[in-house]
Protein backbone atom coordinates (compact mmCIF):
# COMPACT_ATOMS: atom_id res chain seq x y z
CA UNK A 1 0.00 0.00 0.00
CA UNK A 2 2.81 2.42 0.84
CA UNK A 3 4.40 1.94 -2.59
CA UNK A 4 1.10 2.85 -4.22
CA UNK A 5 0.76 5.80 -1.83
CA UNK A 6 4.26 7.14 -2.52
CA UNK A 7 3.94 6.74 -6.29
CA UNK A 8 0.50 8.38 -6.37
CA UNK A 9 1.62 11.27 -4.20
CA UNK A 10 4.59 11.80 -6.49
CA UNK A 11 2.18 11.92 -9.41
CA UNK A 12 0.17 14.60 -7.56
CA UNK A 13 3.25 16.79 -6.96
CA UNK A 14 2.42 19.21 -9.76
CA UNK A 15 -1.18 19.62 -8.66
CA UNK A 16 -0.23 20.09 -5.00
CA UNK A 17 2.30 22.78 -5.88
CA UNK A 18 0.10 24.38 -8.55
CA UNK A 19 -3.04 24.64 -6.44
CA UNK A 20 -1.13 25.31 -3.19
CA UNK A 21 1.05 28.14 -4.53
CA UNK A 22 -1.83 29.74 -6.46
CA UNK A 23 -4.03 29.78 -3.35
CA UNK A 24 -1.17 30.97 -1.13
CA UNK A 25 -0.53 33.88 -3.52
CA UNK A 26 -4.24 34.72 -3.51
CA UNK A 27 -4.17 34.69 0.30
CA UNK A 28 -1.10 36.99 0.33
CA UNK A 29 -2.98 39.43 -1.93
CA UNK A 30 -6.14 39.32 0.21
CA UNK A 31 -4.29 39.71 3.51
CA UNK A 32 -2.12 42.53 2.08
CA UNK A 33 -5.25 44.41 1.00
CA UNK A 34 -6.70 44.23 4.49
CA UNK A 35 -4.65 47.17 5.81
CA UNK A 36 -6.19 49.41 3.16
CA UNK A 37 -9.69 48.15 4.03
CA UNK A 38 -9.09 48.63 7.75
CA UNK A 39 -7.89 52.21 7.16
CA UNK A 40 -11.02 53.05 5.14
CA UNK A 41 -13.46 51.09 7.29
CA UNK A 42 -16.11 53.81 7.59
CA UNK A 43 -16.38 54.36 3.86
CA UNK A 44 -16.53 50.63 3.23
CA UNK A 45 -19.22 50.23 5.92
CA UNK A 46 -21.34 52.80 4.09
CA UNK A 47 -20.75 50.98 0.83
CA UNK A 48 -21.74 47.66 2.39
CA UNK A 49 -25.09 49.07 3.52
CA UNK A 50 -26.22 49.54 -0.05
CA UNK A 51 -25.16 46.02 -1.08
CA UNK A 52 -28.15 43.73 -1.81
CA UNK A 53 -28.99 40.90 0.59
CA UNK A 54 -28.16 38.35 -2.11
CA UNK A 55 -24.47 39.19 -1.74
CA UNK A 56 -24.58 38.34 1.95
CA UNK A 57 -26.41 35.12 1.21
CA UNK A 58 -23.53 33.81 -0.85
CA UNK A 59 -20.52 35.60 0.63
CA UNK A 60 -21.34 35.71 4.31
CA UNK A 61 -22.14 38.56 6.66
CA UNK A 62 -20.81 41.60 4.79
CA UNK A 63 -21.33 43.83 7.83
CA UNK A 64 -18.17 42.21 9.20
CA UNK A 65 -16.20 43.30 6.14
CA UNK A 66 -13.85 45.42 8.24
CA UNK A 67 -12.87 42.69 10.71
CA UNK A 68 -9.95 40.37 9.85
CA UNK A 69 -12.17 37.28 10.12
CA UNK A 70 -14.95 38.87 8.08
CA UNK A 71 -12.53 40.04 5.41
CA UNK A 72 -10.85 36.66 4.83
CA UNK A 73 -14.18 34.85 5.04
CA UNK A 74 -15.86 37.03 2.43
CA UNK A 75 -12.84 37.36 0.16
CA UNK A 76 -11.53 33.80 0.42
CA UNK A 77 -13.41 31.17 2.40
CA UNK A 78 -16.90 31.98 1.06
CA UNK A 79 -16.26 30.68 -2.45
CA UNK A 80 -13.32 28.35 -1.80
CA UNK A 81 -15.44 25.16 -1.63
CA UNK A 82 -16.54 25.88 -5.18
CA UNK A 83 -13.04 26.65 -6.51
CA UNK A 84 -11.07 24.03 -4.64
CA UNK A 85 -14.03 21.68 -4.96
CA UNK A 86 -13.11 21.35 -8.64
CA UNK A 87 -9.76 19.93 -7.51
CA UNK A 88 -11.51 17.44 -5.20
CA UNK A 89 -13.97 16.36 -7.87
CA UNK A 90 -11.30 15.85 -10.54
CA UNK A 91 -8.93 14.07 -8.16
CA UNK A 92 -11.63 11.81 -6.77
CA UNK A 93 -13.08 10.85 -10.14
CA UNK A 94 -9.65 10.10 -11.58
CA UNK A 95 -8.10 8.41 -8.56
CA UNK A 96 -8.47 4.95 -10.10
CA UNK A 97 -10.50 5.41 -13.24
CA UNK A 98 -8.03 7.74 -15.01
CA UNK A 99 -5.50 4.88 -14.97
CA UNK A 100 -8.19 2.49 -16.07
CA UNK A 101 -9.19 4.69 -18.99
CA UNK A 102 -5.61 5.26 -20.15
CA UNK A 103 -4.94 1.53 -19.81
CA UNK A 104 -2.16 1.70 -17.20
CA UNK A 105 -4.22 0.10 -14.41
CA UNK A 106 -4.11 -3.24 -16.23
CA UNK A 107 -0.38 -3.62 -15.70
CA UNK A 108 -0.46 -2.30 -12.13
CA UNK A 109 -3.16 -4.83 -11.26
CA UNK A 110 -0.97 -7.60 -12.66
CA UNK A 111 1.41 -7.07 -9.74
CA UNK A 112 0.98 -8.51 -6.27
CA UNK A 113 -1.14 -5.66 -4.95
CA UNK A 114 -4.60 -6.33 -3.64
CA UNK A 115 -7.49 -4.16 -4.75
CA UNK A 116 -7.84 -2.95 -1.17
CA UNK A 117 -4.16 -1.94 -0.94
CA UNK A 118 -4.38 -0.15 -4.29
CA UNK A 119 -7.58 1.64 -3.28
CA UNK A 120 -6.32 2.63 0.17
CA UNK A 121 -2.91 3.76 -1.14
CA UNK A 122 -4.59 6.01 -3.70
CA UNK A 123 -7.17 7.34 -1.22
CA UNK A 124 -4.49 8.13 1.33
CA UNK A 125 -2.52 10.01 -1.35
CA UNK A 126 -5.63 12.04 -2.23
CA UNK A 127 -6.21 12.96 1.42
CA UNK A 128 -2.53 13.85 1.85
CA UNK A 129 -2.52 15.97 -1.31
CA UNK A 130 -5.63 17.85 -0.16
CA UNK A 131 -4.12 18.48 3.27
CA UNK A 132 -0.84 19.58 1.63
CA UNK A 133 -2.65 22.18 -0.51
CA UNK A 134 -4.38 23.54 2.57
CA UNK A 135 -1.09 23.61 4.49
CA UNK A 136 0.52 25.67 1.71
CA UNK A 137 -2.52 27.98 1.77
CA UNK A 138 -2.19 28.27 5.55
CA UNK A 139 1.50 29.15 5.13
CA UNK A 140 0.32 31.95 2.82
CA UNK A 141 -1.76 33.32 5.69
CA UNK A 142 1.09 32.99 8.18
CA UNK A 143 3.69 34.66 5.96
CA UNK A 144 1.44 37.52 4.83
CA UNK A 145 0.17 38.23 8.35
CA UNK A 146 3.74 39.00 9.41
CA UNK A 147 3.64 42.28 7.43
CA UNK A 148 -0.08 42.98 7.76
CA UNK A 149 -2.00 44.38 10.70
CA UNK A 150 -4.30 41.38 10.38
CA UNK A 151 -3.87 39.17 13.39
CA UNK A 152 -6.14 36.18 13.42
CA UNK A 153 -3.76 33.72 15.00
CA UNK A 154 -1.99 30.77 13.39
CA UNK A 155 -4.21 28.20 14.99
CA UNK A 156 -7.54 29.98 14.37
CA UNK A 157 -6.91 30.11 10.62
CA UNK A 158 -7.13 26.31 10.69
CA UNK A 159 -10.76 26.34 11.86
CA UNK A 160 -12.36 27.27 8.49
CA UNK A 161 -9.60 25.33 6.72
CA UNK A 162 -10.72 22.20 8.60
CA UNK A 163 -14.28 22.72 7.45
CA UNK A 164 -13.01 23.29 3.91
CA UNK A 165 -10.95 20.07 4.12
CA UNK A 166 -14.03 18.11 5.17
CA UNK A 167 -16.02 19.49 2.22
CA UNK A 168 -13.23 18.67 -0.23
CA UNK A 169 -12.92 15.13 1.08
CA UNK A 170 -16.68 14.68 0.86
CA UNK A 171 -16.92 15.86 -2.75
CA UNK A 172 -13.76 13.92 -3.64
CA UNK A 173 -15.15 10.68 -2.26
CA UNK A 174 -18.59 11.24 -3.85
CA UNK A 175 -16.76 11.68 -7.13
CA UNK A 176 -14.67 8.56 -6.47
CA UNK A 177 -17.78 6.53 -5.70
CA UNK A 178 -19.55 7.74 -8.84
CA UNK A 179 -16.46 6.90 -10.92
CA UNK A 180 -16.87 3.31 -9.71
CA UNK A 181 -20.54 3.27 -10.71
CA UNK A 182 -20.74 5.31 -13.88
CA UNK A 183 -19.17 4.26 -17.19
CA UNK A 184 -16.61 7.06 -17.36
CA UNK A 185 -14.53 9.44 -15.30
CA UNK A 186 -15.94 12.33 -17.33
CA UNK A 187 -19.49 11.48 -16.35
CA UNK A 188 -18.57 11.02 -12.68
CA UNK A 189 -16.75 14.37 -12.59
CA UNK A 190 -19.57 16.17 -14.39
CA UNK A 191 -22.23 14.72 -12.10
CA UNK A 192 -20.31 15.57 -8.93
CA UNK A 193 -19.43 19.01 -10.32
CA UNK A 194 -23.12 19.71 -10.93
CA UNK A 195 -23.89 18.52 -7.41
CA UNK A 196 -21.23 20.90 -6.06
CA UNK A 197 -22.57 23.91 -7.96
CA UNK A 198 -26.17 23.05 -7.09
CA UNK A 199 -25.20 22.68 -3.45
CA UNK A 200 -23.52 26.12 -3.50
CA UNK A 201 -26.57 27.84 -4.97
CA UNK A 202 -29.17 26.01 -2.88
CA UNK A 203 -27.27 26.81 0.31
CA UNK A 204 -27.03 30.49 -0.66
CA UNK A 205 -30.59 30.81 -1.93
CA UNK A 206 -31.99 29.11 1.17
CA UNK A 207 -30.83 32.14 3.15
CA UNK A 208 -33.13 34.28 1.00
CA UNK A 209 -36.04 31.90 0.59
CA UNK A 210 -37.33 29.92 3.57
CA UNK A 211 -39.02 27.41 1.29
CA UNK A 212 -35.60 26.14 0.28
CA UNK A 213 -34.37 25.53 3.83
CA UNK A 214 -35.60 21.94 3.87
CA UNK A 215 -33.78 21.18 0.63
CA UNK A 216 -30.69 23.02 1.84
CA UNK A 217 -30.44 20.61 4.76
CA UNK A 218 -29.52 17.96 2.21
CA UNK A 219 -26.85 20.17 0.71
CA UNK A 220 -23.28 19.38 1.87
CA UNK A 221 -22.30 23.04 1.66
CA UNK A 222 -25.02 23.88 4.18
CA UNK A 223 -22.65 22.44 6.78
CA UNK A 224 -19.59 24.29 5.57
CA UNK A 225 -18.36 26.84 8.09
CA UNK A 226 -16.35 29.84 6.97
CA UNK A 227 -16.85 32.91 9.16
CA UNK A 228 -18.75 30.96 11.82
CA UNK A 229 -15.81 28.62 12.28
CA UNK A 230 -13.68 31.48 13.65
CA UNK A 231 -16.10 31.91 16.52
CA UNK A 232 -17.13 28.34 17.23
CA UNK A 233 -16.45 25.44 14.90
CA UNK A 234 -19.45 23.13 14.94
CA UNK A 235 -17.84 19.79 15.68
CA UNK A 236 -21.00 17.84 14.87
CA UNK A 237 -21.20 19.34 11.39
CA UNK A 238 -17.50 18.74 10.83
CA UNK A 239 -17.81 15.14 12.00
CA UNK A 240 -20.92 14.74 9.83
CA UNK A 241 -19.05 15.85 6.71
CA UNK A 242 -16.04 13.67 7.50
CA UNK A 243 -18.30 10.73 8.36
CA UNK A 244 -20.14 11.13 5.06
CA UNK A 245 -16.78 11.16 3.24
CA UNK A 246 -15.87 7.91 5.00
CA UNK A 247 -19.20 6.36 3.96
CA UNK A 248 -18.71 7.31 0.28
CA UNK A 249 -15.10 6.07 0.40
CA UNK A 250 -16.32 2.76 1.85
CA UNK A 251 -18.99 2.45 -0.86
CA UNK A 252 -16.38 3.18 -3.54
CA UNK A 253 -14.06 0.55 -2.04
CA UNK A 254 -16.90 -1.99 -1.92
CA UNK A 255 -17.70 -1.36 -5.56
CA UNK A 256 -14.02 -1.49 -6.62
CA UNK A 257 -13.70 -4.91 -4.97
CA UNK A 258 -16.44 -6.29 -7.14
CA UNK A 259 -16.14 -4.68 -10.52
CA UNK A 260 -14.21 -5.71 -13.62
CA UNK A 261 -11.12 -3.71 -14.52
CA UNK A 262 -11.41 -2.33 -18.02
CA UNK A 263 -8.52 -2.71 -20.48
CA UNK A 264 -8.74 0.95 -21.45
CA UNK A 265 -11.10 3.64 -22.67
CA UNK A 266 -14.45 4.59 -21.29
CA UNK A 267 -17.11 2.04 -20.42
CA UNK A 268 -20.69 2.15 -21.56
CA UNK A 269 -24.16 1.58 -20.16
CA UNK A 270 -24.47 -1.31 -22.64
CA UNK A 271 -27.84 -0.02 -23.68
CA UNK A 272 -29.16 -1.14 -27.07
CA UNK A 273 -28.21 1.35 -29.74
CA UNK A 274 -30.88 3.65 -31.09
CA UNK A 275 -30.02 2.64 -34.66
CA UNK A 276 -30.57 -1.04 -33.80
CA UNK A 277 -33.90 -0.29 -32.15
CA UNK A 278 -35.02 1.67 -35.22
CA UNK A 279 -33.90 -1.19 -37.48
CA UNK A 280 -35.87 -3.68 -35.41
CA UNK A 281 -38.96 -1.47 -35.45
Amino acid sequence: MMTVFRYTLRRFRGQILGWGIALALLVVLIVSMYDMIAAEQEQFAELMEIYPAEISAFMGDISTFGTPEGWVSIEFFSYMPLILGIFGVLMGSGLLVSNEENGTLDLIMAHPVSRTALFMGRLLAFVTATVAILVITWLGFIVSMTWSSMDIGWGRIWLPLLSLLAELLLFGTISLFLSMLLPSRRLAATTTGLLLVASFFITGLAKLNEDLEAVAKLSPLNYYQAQDAFHALNGVWLAGLLGSAVVFAALAWWRFQRRDIRVGGEGSWRLPSLARLIRRA
Partner: protein, 303 residues
Protein backbone atom coordinates in the same frame (compact mmCIF):
# COMPACT_ATOMS: atom_id res chain seq x y z
CA UNK B 1 -5.66 -30.18 -9.53
CA UNK B 2 -2.47 -32.09 -10.10
CA UNK B 3 0.90 -30.60 -9.19
CA UNK B 4 1.77 -31.09 -12.81
CA UNK B 5 -0.86 -28.63 -13.97
CA UNK B 6 0.00 -24.93 -14.06
CA UNK B 7 -3.26 -23.59 -15.44
CA UNK B 8 -6.71 -25.07 -15.50
CA UNK B 9 -10.09 -23.68 -16.46
CA UNK B 10 -13.35 -25.61 -16.45
CA UNK B 11 -16.54 -24.30 -18.01
CA UNK B 12 -15.38 -20.70 -17.84
CA UNK B 13 -18.15 -18.26 -18.74
CA UNK B 14 -17.78 -14.54 -19.12
CA UNK B 15 -20.21 -12.09 -20.70
CA UNK B 16 -19.99 -8.37 -21.29
CA UNK B 17 -23.63 -7.41 -21.35
CA UNK B 18 -25.12 -9.32 -24.25
CA UNK B 19 -21.75 -10.30 -25.68
CA UNK B 20 -20.63 -13.74 -24.54
CA UNK B 21 -16.84 -13.67 -24.56
CA UNK B 22 -16.28 -17.11 -23.00
CA UNK B 23 -18.88 -19.87 -23.34
CA UNK B 24 -17.57 -22.64 -21.14
CA UNK B 25 -13.85 -22.57 -21.79
CA UNK B 26 -11.92 -25.70 -20.79
CA UNK B 27 -8.15 -25.55 -20.75
CA UNK B 28 -5.27 -27.31 -19.08
CA UNK B 29 -1.63 -26.26 -19.28
CA UNK B 30 1.11 -28.43 -17.81
CA UNK B 31 3.88 -27.07 -15.62
CA UNK B 32 7.03 -26.23 -17.52
CA UNK B 33 5.20 -26.14 -20.83
CA UNK B 34 5.16 -23.45 -23.51
CA UNK B 35 1.55 -23.24 -24.55
CA UNK B 36 0.27 -21.22 -27.51
CA UNK B 37 -3.19 -19.76 -27.47
CA UNK B 38 -4.53 -19.01 -30.93
CA UNK B 39 -7.65 -17.29 -32.05
CA UNK B 40 -8.95 -14.39 -34.07
CA UNK B 41 -9.70 -11.00 -32.53
CA UNK B 42 -12.60 -11.21 -30.12
CA UNK B 43 -12.31 -14.98 -29.69
CA UNK B 44 -11.73 -14.59 -25.92
CA UNK B 45 -7.94 -14.86 -25.58
CA UNK B 46 -7.43 -11.66 -23.58
CA UNK B 47 -10.58 -12.28 -21.52
CA UNK B 48 -9.23 -15.70 -20.52
CA UNK B 49 -5.87 -14.26 -19.45
CA UNK B 50 -7.50 -11.41 -17.50
CA UNK B 51 -9.75 -13.88 -15.66
CA UNK B 52 -6.61 -15.77 -14.61
CA UNK B 53 -5.28 -12.61 -12.92
CA UNK B 54 -8.62 -11.65 -11.33
CA UNK B 55 -8.84 -8.44 -13.29
CA UNK B 56 -12.25 -9.51 -14.45
CA UNK B 57 -14.61 -11.95 -12.78
CA UNK B 58 -16.18 -14.82 -14.71
CA UNK B 59 -19.88 -15.52 -14.26
CA UNK B 60 -19.32 -19.25 -14.19
CA UNK B 61 -16.76 -22.02 -14.15
CA UNK B 62 -13.56 -22.49 -12.21
CA UNK B 63 -9.96 -21.37 -12.66
CA UNK B 64 -6.84 -22.64 -10.95
CA UNK B 65 -3.52 -20.93 -11.50
CA UNK B 66 -0.49 -22.69 -9.98
CA UNK B 67 -2.95 -24.52 -7.75
CA UNK B 68 -4.42 -21.24 -6.51
CA UNK B 69 -7.83 -19.70 -7.01
CA UNK B 70 -7.22 -16.24 -8.52
CA UNK B 71 -10.40 -14.82 -7.00
CA UNK B 72 -9.61 -16.08 -3.52
CA UNK B 73 -5.88 -15.33 -3.61
CA UNK B 74 -5.12 -12.84 -6.39
CA UNK B 75 -2.00 -11.42 -4.73
CA UNK B 76 -0.35 -14.84 -4.47
CA UNK B 77 -1.22 -15.62 -8.11
CA UNK B 78 0.19 -12.30 -9.33
CA UNK B 79 3.33 -12.69 -7.21
CA UNK B 80 4.13 -15.89 -9.11
CA UNK B 81 3.09 -14.59 -12.50
CA UNK B 82 4.64 -12.34 -15.13
CA UNK B 83 2.02 -10.68 -17.30
CA UNK B 84 2.39 -8.82 -20.55
CA UNK B 85 -0.86 -7.19 -21.64
CA UNK B 86 -1.87 -7.15 -25.28
CA UNK B 87 -2.32 -3.39 -25.19
CA UNK B 88 0.58 -2.34 -23.03
CA UNK B 89 0.25 1.08 -21.41
CA UNK B 90 2.80 2.41 -18.94
CA UNK B 91 2.78 5.84 -17.25
CA UNK B 92 4.14 7.95 -20.12
CA UNK B 93 5.92 10.43 -17.85
CA UNK B 94 8.19 7.87 -16.18
CA UNK B 95 11.57 6.84 -17.47
CA UNK B 96 12.03 3.20 -18.45
CA UNK B 97 14.11 2.61 -15.32
CA UNK B 98 11.62 4.54 -13.17
CA UNK B 99 8.76 2.37 -14.45
CA UNK B 100 10.71 -0.85 -13.90
CA UNK B 101 11.75 0.26 -10.40
CA UNK B 102 8.12 1.06 -9.62
CA UNK B 103 7.04 -2.43 -10.75
CA UNK B 104 9.89 -3.84 -8.68
CA UNK B 105 8.65 -1.87 -5.66
CA UNK B 106 5.15 -3.31 -6.21
CA UNK B 107 6.81 -6.74 -6.04
CA UNK B 108 8.45 -5.90 -2.74
CA UNK B 109 11.88 -4.94 -4.21
CA UNK B 110 12.81 -8.59 -4.68
CA UNK B 111 14.04 -8.30 -8.24
CA UNK B 112 17.69 -8.88 -9.13
CA UNK B 113 18.53 -5.61 -10.86
CA UNK B 114 21.50 -7.18 -12.62
CA UNK B 115 19.08 -9.55 -14.35
CA UNK B 116 16.89 -6.61 -15.37
CA UNK B 117 19.88 -4.89 -16.99
CA UNK B 118 20.86 -8.14 -18.68
CA UNK B 119 17.40 -8.71 -20.21
CA UNK B 120 17.16 -5.02 -21.21
CA UNK B 121 20.57 -5.26 -22.90
CA UNK B 122 19.55 -8.37 -24.82
CA UNK B 123 16.50 -6.53 -26.07
CA UNK B 124 18.61 -3.46 -26.85
CA UNK B 125 16.45 -1.41 -24.48
CA UNK B 126 17.88 1.84 -23.09
CA UNK B 127 16.72 2.45 -19.50
CA UNK B 128 17.19 6.21 -19.60
CA UNK B 129 14.45 7.56 -21.93
CA UNK B 130 11.03 8.71 -20.84
CA UNK B 131 8.32 6.21 -21.83
CA UNK B 132 6.36 8.73 -23.91
CA UNK B 133 9.38 9.20 -26.17
CA UNK B 134 9.69 5.49 -26.95
CA UNK B 135 8.58 3.82 -30.15
CA UNK B 136 5.86 1.17 -29.94
CA UNK B 137 8.45 -1.59 -30.23
CA UNK B 138 10.56 -0.20 -27.39
CA UNK B 139 7.47 0.15 -25.17
CA UNK B 140 6.78 -3.50 -25.88
CA UNK B 141 10.31 -4.34 -24.74
CA UNK B 142 9.57 -2.57 -21.41
CA UNK B 143 6.56 -4.86 -21.09
CA UNK B 144 8.64 -7.94 -21.83
CA UNK B 145 11.30 -6.95 -19.26
CA UNK B 146 8.74 -6.28 -16.50
CA UNK B 147 7.05 -9.63 -17.20
CA UNK B 148 10.32 -11.55 -16.94
CA UNK B 149 12.31 -9.56 -14.38
CA UNK B 150 11.16 -11.38 -11.24
CA UNK B 151 11.71 -14.82 -12.85
CA UNK B 152 8.07 -15.84 -12.46
CA UNK B 153 6.82 -19.40 -12.29
CA UNK B 154 4.18 -18.57 -14.88
CA UNK B 155 4.30 -16.23 -17.86
CA UNK B 156 1.00 -14.95 -19.22
CA UNK B 157 1.88 -13.17 -22.41
CA UNK B 158 -0.70 -11.56 -24.63
CA UNK B 159 0.89 -11.08 -28.05
CA UNK B 160 4.47 -10.82 -26.68
CA UNK B 161 6.19 -9.94 -29.94
CA UNK B 162 3.67 -7.36 -31.11
CA UNK B 163 5.44 -4.44 -32.77
CA UNK B 164 8.93 -5.93 -32.50
CA UNK B 165 11.29 -6.33 -35.43
CA UNK B 166 12.16 -9.92 -36.49
CA UNK B 167 15.46 -9.91 -34.58
CA UNK B 168 13.79 -8.83 -31.36
CA UNK B 169 10.93 -11.27 -31.93
CA UNK B 170 13.50 -14.04 -32.03
CA UNK B 171 15.18 -12.71 -28.87
CA UNK B 172 11.87 -12.62 -26.99
CA UNK B 173 11.15 -16.19 -28.05
CA UNK B 174 14.62 -17.15 -26.79
CA UNK B 175 13.88 -15.51 -23.45
CA UNK B 176 10.63 -17.46 -23.20
CA UNK B 177 12.44 -20.69 -24.04
CA UNK B 178 15.10 -19.91 -21.41
CA UNK B 179 12.40 -19.20 -18.82
CA UNK B 180 10.95 -22.62 -19.61
CA UNK B 181 14.40 -24.20 -19.24
CA UNK B 182 14.50 -22.67 -15.76
CA UNK B 183 11.19 -24.31 -14.87
CA UNK B 184 8.68 -21.63 -15.83
CA UNK B 185 5.43 -22.24 -17.67
CA UNK B 186 4.63 -19.93 -20.56
CA UNK B 187 1.12 -19.33 -21.79
CA UNK B 188 0.98 -16.95 -24.68
CA UNK B 189 -1.50 -15.77 -27.21
CA UNK B 190 -0.36 -14.76 -30.64
CA UNK B 191 -1.42 -13.97 -34.14
CA UNK B 192 2.00 -14.84 -35.51
CA UNK B 193 1.69 -18.52 -36.23
CA UNK B 194 5.33 -19.01 -37.15
CA UNK B 195 6.43 -18.05 -33.64
CA UNK B 196 3.83 -20.28 -32.01
CA UNK B 197 4.99 -23.10 -34.25
CA UNK B 198 8.62 -22.36 -33.35
CA UNK B 199 8.34 -22.43 -29.55
CA UNK B 200 4.99 -23.85 -28.41
CA UNK B 201 4.85 -27.46 -27.32
CA UNK B 202 1.09 -27.46 -27.50
CA UNK B 203 -1.45 -25.05 -28.88
CA UNK B 204 -5.10 -24.40 -28.23
CA UNK B 205 -7.37 -22.87 -30.81
CA UNK B 206 -10.13 -20.76 -29.33
CA UNK B 207 -13.19 -19.87 -31.34
CA UNK B 208 -16.14 -17.86 -30.06
CA UNK B 209 -15.19 -18.38 -26.45
CA UNK B 210 -14.60 -22.14 -26.51
CA UNK B 211 -11.47 -24.17 -27.11
CA UNK B 212 -12.02 -26.17 -30.29
CA UNK B 213 -8.67 -27.91 -30.52
CA UNK B 214 -5.68 -28.63 -28.29
CA UNK B 215 -2.72 -30.41 -29.82
CA UNK B 216 0.96 -30.29 -30.56
CA UNK B 217 1.66 -28.02 -33.53
CA UNK B 218 3.16 -30.93 -35.47
CA UNK B 219 0.03 -33.04 -34.90
CA UNK B 220 -2.17 -30.28 -36.20
CA UNK B 221 0.05 -29.83 -39.21
CA UNK B 222 0.25 -33.55 -40.00
CA UNK B 223 -3.47 -33.94 -39.62
CA UNK B 224 -4.16 -31.14 -42.06
CA UNK B 225 -4.43 -31.10 -45.82
CA UNK B 226 -1.19 -31.11 -47.79
CA UNK B 227 -0.46 -30.27 -51.37
CA UNK B 228 1.63 -32.47 -53.64
CA UNK B 229 3.07 -31.33 -56.94
CA UNK B 230 4.01 -34.29 -59.19
CA UNK B 231 5.95 -34.00 -62.47
CA UNK B 232 6.10 -36.81 -65.02
CA UNK B 233 8.74 -37.73 -67.63
CA UNK B 234 6.07 -37.83 -70.36
CA UNK B 235 2.37 -36.93 -70.59
CA UNK B 236 0.20 -39.39 -68.65
CA UNK B 237 -3.44 -39.92 -67.79
CA UNK B 238 -3.69 -38.74 -64.17
CA UNK B 239 -7.33 -39.72 -63.66
CA UNK B 240 -6.44 -42.87 -61.57
CA UNK B 241 -4.89 -40.52 -58.99
CA UNK B 242 -8.27 -38.92 -58.34
CA UNK B 243 -9.56 -42.33 -57.20
CA UNK B 244 -6.95 -42.64 -54.44
CA UNK B 245 -8.73 -42.17 -51.05
CA UNK B 246 -8.05 -38.69 -49.62
CA UNK B 247 -6.60 -37.31 -52.84
CA UNK B 248 -8.17 -34.50 -54.86
CA UNK B 249 -6.78 -33.22 -58.15
CA UNK B 250 -6.51 -29.48 -57.93
CA UNK B 251 -5.03 -28.75 -61.35
CA UNK B 252 -3.16 -30.42 -64.17
CA UNK B 253 -1.59 -29.18 -67.38
CA UNK B 254 -0.80 -31.20 -70.51
CA UNK B 255 -0.35 -34.41 -68.50
CA UNK B 256 3.28 -33.75 -67.50
CA UNK B 257 2.43 -32.38 -64.04
CA UNK B 258 -0.43 -32.41 -61.58
CA UNK B 259 -1.23 -30.54 -58.35
CA UNK B 260 -2.95 -32.68 -55.76
CA UNK B 261 -4.47 -32.12 -52.34
CA UNK B 262 -3.91 -34.95 -49.88
CA UNK B 263 -5.86 -35.45 -46.69
CA UNK B 264 -4.25 -37.60 -44.02
CA UNK B 265 -1.49 -40.08 -44.74
CA UNK B 266 0.53 -39.89 -48.00
CA UNK B 267 0.94 -43.68 -48.21
CA UNK B 268 -1.92 -44.31 -50.70
CA UNK B 269 -0.69 -41.61 -53.07
CA UNK B 270 2.93 -42.81 -53.00
CA UNK B 271 1.83 -46.36 -53.85
CA UNK B 272 -0.39 -45.12 -56.67
CA UNK B 273 2.43 -43.00 -58.10
CA UNK B 274 4.64 -46.13 -58.35
CA UNK B 275 2.78 -46.92 -61.57
CA UNK B 276 3.72 -43.56 -63.15
CA UNK B 277 6.99 -42.29 -64.68
CA UNK B 278 7.60 -39.71 -61.96
CA UNK B 279 10.41 -37.21 -62.55
CA UNK B 280 9.73 -34.95 -59.57
CA UNK B 281 7.65 -34.94 -56.39
CA UNK B 282 7.24 -32.02 -54.01
CA UNK B 283 4.92 -31.63 -51.07
CA UNK B 284 3.96 -28.38 -49.38
CA UNK B 285 3.74 -28.61 -45.64
CA UNK B 286 0.91 -26.35 -44.44
CA UNK B 287 1.85 -23.72 -41.90
CA UNK B 288 0.07 -23.48 -38.60
CA UNK B 289 -1.34 -20.28 -39.97
CA UNK B 290 -3.16 -22.13 -42.76
CA UNK B 291 -4.52 -24.60 -40.24
CA UNK B 292 -5.68 -21.79 -38.00
CA UNK B 293 -7.30 -20.05 -40.95
CA UNK B 294 -9.04 -23.28 -41.87
CA UNK B 295 -10.62 -23.38 -38.41
CA UNK B 296 -11.58 -19.76 -38.71
CA UNK B 297 -13.03 -20.19 -42.21
CA UNK B 298 -15.08 -23.14 -40.99
CA UNK B 299 -16.38 -20.89 -38.30
CA UNK B 300 -17.38 -18.22 -40.82
CA UNK B 301 -19.11 -20.80 -42.99
CA UNK B 302 -21.12 -21.98 -39.98
CA UNK B 303 -22.24 -18.40 -39.39
Amino acid sequence: MSDQVALMTRGLIKSYGRVQALRGLDLEVKRGEIFGFLGPNGAGKTTTIRCMLDMIRPQGGTIRVLDLDPQADPVAVRARTGYLPGELQVDPNMTVEGALRYFNALRGNKVDWGFVRQVAARLDLDLEPVIKNLSHGNKQKVGVVQALMHRPQLLLLDEPTLGLDPLMQREVLRLITEAKANGATAFFSSHIMSEVEAVAERVAIIRQGVVVEVAEPSTLINRALRRAHVRFKQPVDTSPLANVPGVTVLSQDDGTSVLLQVEGEMDGLIKALAAFPVSGFETERPSLEEIFLAYYEDDQKEE
